[in-house]
């Protein structure tokens, strides 16, 4: 805790302004996901729609620990991390809708883009396949003496793919500036975590790689932030990787076409009370006198920003067919 000028203590050493920024990103993430679902239901999306409902605190809190020069390698439910790292809503929606003006020019969708300026490198579908790539980025960044850290994510399902093991072990042996967050949201598609792991805590894997491991409450944005910051700082000091298991719940189906009827109702209910947004809002209301006016203006701002981005995306043309076969190779 840190005190500001008024003598008030702030959690995680954040100013009220920063806390409100976190609040904004949490709400923006949720609202964006909701908008994506709406577009899906309106039949305007290309391909499927994946939301991070329940995961906002994990994505937002962790990426908030990064500096501008750090690298983000997010997974498919980390929209919040894209936003915190500076991605525009325009680019998000252009990607979702496969527009000509999107970062991938319609060649790939969702978060599967790269934005080297912002140091964001999106995911591919093949789970865990980006872990070795992110590790290689950490290696290159160290070679280039950038003093940067790579933050990468994986799911409770995806972390059972071999690439998780090979990548994390390599990073540990080389003491690379690499932080890996396992988003344990209780399910991998329809498969409950107990059918993916015999260990009670996924972070127990860390010891086997000789690195620190933490299991944290992934619905508590401040806890996520603080743990990630500790790991990022350690990585920046050259002490090597950290594995963080952030425990939360996938509140929606795997994708918009999955009704998640395999999720026990009471499980869902019990997690609903831990809604990351509501939890943090309560903290802000009770401890930081978040006002109704502030809540509403935040909502309005988000609404306007999203509408504008969607509007721009709908206006943007589909990619031209003749571009389809260009650029398989670099010059």
């Amino acid at each position: 805790m840190q005190k500001d000028e008024t003598g008030q203590k702030h959690p995680a050493g954040l100013t009220r302004e920063q806390l409100l920024e976190l609040y904004y990103y949490l709400r923006l993430t949720r609202a964006c996901d909701d908008a994506i679902l709406r577009l899906y239901k309106q039949g305007k999306m290309v391909g499927g729609a994946y939301t991070g409902n329940g995961n906002e605190a994990t994505a937002v809190g962790s990426s908030y620990a990064l500096r501008r020069e750090d690298y983000l390698f997010p997974m498919h439910r980390d929209l919040g991390a894209h936003l915190v790292k500076g991605q525009s809503l325009r680019n998000i929606f252009f990607q979702q809708l496969g527009r000509a003006g999107s970062l991938t020019r319609g060649r790939d969708g969702t978060g599967h883009y790269a934005d080297p300026e912002l140091r964001i490198y999106g995911n591919v579908s093949h789970l865990a396949a980006m872990i070795p790539v992110a590790v290689g980025a950490a290696l290159a960044s160290r070679m280039k003496k950038q003093n940067a850290v790579v933050l990468n994510y994986i799911g409770d399902g995806g972390c059972n793919v071999g690439d998780f093991h090979e990548g994390l072990n390599m990073a540990a042996v080389m003491k690379l500036p690499f932080v890996l967050i396992v988003e344990n949201n209780q399910f991998a598609y329809s498969t409950p975590v107990a059918r993916q792991h015999a260990a009670a805590r996924i972070s127990d894997r860390a010891a086997g790689y000789g690195i620190p491991g933490f299991t944290i409450d992934g619905t508590d944005v401040l806890q996520v932030f603080e743990t990630t910051r500790t790991a990022v700082e350690r990585a920046r000091r050259g002490e090597g990787p950290t594995l963080i298991e952030s425990v939360t719940m996938r509140m929606h189906g795997h994708s918009a076409s999955d009704d998640a009827s395999y999720v026990p109702g009471d499980l869902l209910e019990s997690w609903r009370s831990k809604d990351p947004l509501a939890r943090f809002e309560a903290v802000l209301v009770s401890g930081y006198s978040l006002t109704t006016a502030e809540k509403e203006s935040t909502g309005q701002r988000i609404h306007d920003e999203i509408e504008e981005a969607i509007h721009a995306a709908m206006e943007d043309p589909a990619p031209l067919p003749e571009t389809a076969t260009e650029g398989v190779y670099a010059l």
């Binding site: 290309v46 496969g98 060649r107 790939d108 093949h126 991998a188 498969t191 993916q196 067919p321 389809a324």
Partner: protein
């Protein structure tokens, strides 16, 4: 006879084989309670139980590898990759273990790997690939590629009974679009046998999977519009190939077009074209032509995907030009 969709039919094939032979079991991601991403195994868990319908960890290499191990002990695993694209994660196990074991150890490895394959569904670069050419080049693997519900059931049953690792291509595009009559009794479609779907003496089209249907459409149009009559051969199996049938049809028509959804360069079509030319050079009135996807990753946005994948219009034009050669 019952009318079924393509995916219902292949599921029916699995079901019957599981009823018939207790050594058959299923393994894959989300195939149990959820019934699989494409619902091919819906109802299997309830009927056959957890021991034979195994919701595995998210680990393609382990799914394929464990299937090899179980097959070595006399079981008959049917493994599902959630999308064919993800078989790249099980690639090592397929080519290193599944394919080479019989030659080295003289032990059968009876297993099936189901690959929901191909594009035309706006899946983007990681949910639209065709993996067959890789495996086509690996001695020791068989590959089947049904295009109708009838063959989906019959080839599934044949694949499960085969004593070798069989790659089973399921064309996602056909899953629910394709309906047809499926005999209710026990039958198999022999692996390695193609079938003539349409007779015609002007040229032969050799194809498999989704593009069988595009080729049939193109042939009908060509017949109506130009009076050109094409034979359409549905290869059904890629490894082994039905070379006798290919030879017969090509020698009858003197002109051949190979069509597949997979990328053109180094695709199965290259082998077929090269082999036809070596085998029937004197009988050819024109070079063997090929159609396949452009040599680019399958793009996400529909107008791009449409340019990259073969279309009925493109097949029509190639058939037309070849007939006029």
């Amino acid at each position: 006879m019952a009318t079924m969709t393509y995916i219902e039919a292949l599921a029916r094939g699995m079901w019957e084989e599981m009823e018939r032979d207790p050594s058959v079991f299923l393994i894959g991601e989300d195939i149990g309670a959820y019934g699989g991403a494409f619902k091919a195994t819906k109802g299997f868990l309830e009927h056959f139980g957890e021991e034979r319908v195994i919701d595995s960890t998210l680990s393609e290499a382990a799914i394929v590898g464990a299937s090899v191990g179980a097959a070595l002990l006399g079981m008959r695993p049917v493994a599902e990759m959630q999308f064919a694209d993800f078989v790249t994660c099980g690639f090592n196990q397929l080519v290193v273990n599944a394919a080479k074991t019989h030659y080295r150890w003289h032990l059968p490895v009876p297993m099936v790997v189901r690959l929901p394959t191909g594009g035309y569904i706006h899946g983007g670069p990681y949910h639209s690939e065709s993996p067959e050419a890789w495996f086509f080049h690996v001695p020791g693997l068989k590959i089947v590629a049904p295009s109708t519900p009838h063959d989906a059931k019959g080839l599934m049953k044949a694949a499960i009974r085969d004593n070798n690792p069989v790659i089973f291509l399921e064309f996602k595009y056909l899953d629910r679009r394709m309906k047809g009559d499926v005999p209710e009794e026990d039958y198999t479609v022999p692996i390695g046998k193609g079938v003539v779907r349409r007779e015609g003496s002007d040229l032969a089209v050799l194809t498999y999977g989704s593009t069988v249907h595009f080729a049939l459409d193109a042939a009908e149009r060509l017949s109506k519009q130009e009076g050109i009559e094409a034979s359409i051969v549905d290869l059904r199996s890629l490894a082994p190939l039905d070379k006798e049938l290919i030879r017969d049809v090509v020698r009858q028509t003197g002109k051949a077009l190979v069509v597949h959804e997979d990328h053109l360069t180094g695709g199965v079509g290259a082998e077929i074209a090269a082999w036809i030319t070596e085998d029937s050079f004197q009988a050819l009135d024109a070079p063997v032509r090929r159609i396949g996807a452009a040599d680019v990753p399958i793009p996400f946005a529909p107008p791009l995907e449409e340019v990259v994948l073969p279309t009925t219009a493109g097949i029509f034009k190639a058939m037309h030009d070849l007939a006029r050669y």
